[in-house]
Symmetry: C2
Subunit: 191 residues, 2 copies
């Protein structure tokens, strides 16, 4: 057993103990404590289409994952059942206080979206849920484009590890990159 | 005692136990585990001068604070001795994998800067340390502009809480906003 797993056993810390919760109708409950989870990365105005409609404002996306899943990923490069990602969108501001240019994040949360793994509950293994200001959310139907896009392009098990700079090197070492992602990466390199 | 402080006692989680470490020569040791700390916010190309030199690339700044300090701030709106902030700068990328526009973070860390509170060690109460790829850093001299700028403009105890959207509301409720910040905010509103 590695020293780290003796010093920091997964499950001992309260934050490690997160488990996704659902109502009896299958709605997911908002994981309210996600800002104390592990931070993965932030994008600004990211878009997967070449001609994205301009929004008239800038927007940041912050991504967090529950600490137990993160600890497992560090060891194996894979996501266990129960893995929960939170994508939090925040309106960007530019001039404010002493900031003169560039962008910083406001208190205006424009959306919260969850990607959660549960092999028994979801046909594809994963479910997406969009919480607006609500404490519960209905699952986004599996025919929605988020599912097919993540299946076709995500680096590891339908998750966009290619955009999480601390995780991509781990997936490479552990050999858990998806076949489709490896193929796309090779094509990118050829261009 | 609030229920939360029984369930999640500060100090029980390994991450809560961070204490800044210094060599016998007064150099600070890099807190290597900072990516498991509490995430505060991210900016893109933020600049405090109106005519910032263009960098030729975009850069993200991610800010983290140690979990023990964060827990104390939630309760009091103030930072205890030992509070440690990490500002991590990362090169931004735009086109890559399926991303077509906007920016995401690369694995290219362009700098790490620490802001640490220790009333006994530092004359002003706080010290700045710039780690490049090193495991130790020498303190930035107290006559450097980072100290005077933080003292003059920061919302709480020389820290830029005005740019941390989850903390600013707490400082407002707890009444711990600095006099200088409150004055500047009123002038901003008048404009």
């Amino acid at each position: 057993m590695a020293l780290a797993s003796i010093l920091y056993p997964v499950g001992d810390s309260p934050a490690h103990g997160y488990k996704p919760e659902f109502t009896s109708e299958g709605q997911m409950k908002l994981p309210e404590d996600y800002r104390s989870w592990i931070y993965l990365s932030t994008g600004l105005d990211m878009s997967y289409t070449a001609n994205a409609m301009p929004m008239g404002h800038h927007m940041f996306d912050n991504v967090f994952v529950d600490p137990g899943a993160y600890a497992e990923f560090l060891k194996t490069g894979t996501w266990p059942d129960g893995t929960t990602f939170m994508l939090e969108a925040r309106m960007a501001l530019s001039k404010g206080s002493i900031n003169q240019s560039g962008n910083y994040q406001s208190d205006n949360v424009m959306g919260r979206e969850v990607h959660v793994k549960d092999s028994k509950r979801f046909k594809s293994g994963w479910g997406f849920f969009a919480f607006d200001d609500d404490k519960t959310a209905t699952m986004i139907p599996e025919k929605a484009s988020c599912y097919s896009c993540h299946q076709q392009h995500a680096a590891v098990d339908t998750t966009f590890v290619q955009f999480y700079p601390t995780l991509l090197p781990i997936a490479k070492v552990k050999g858990t990159l998806s076949v489709s992602y490896q193929k796309e990466s090779k094509e990118d390199t050829k261009e």
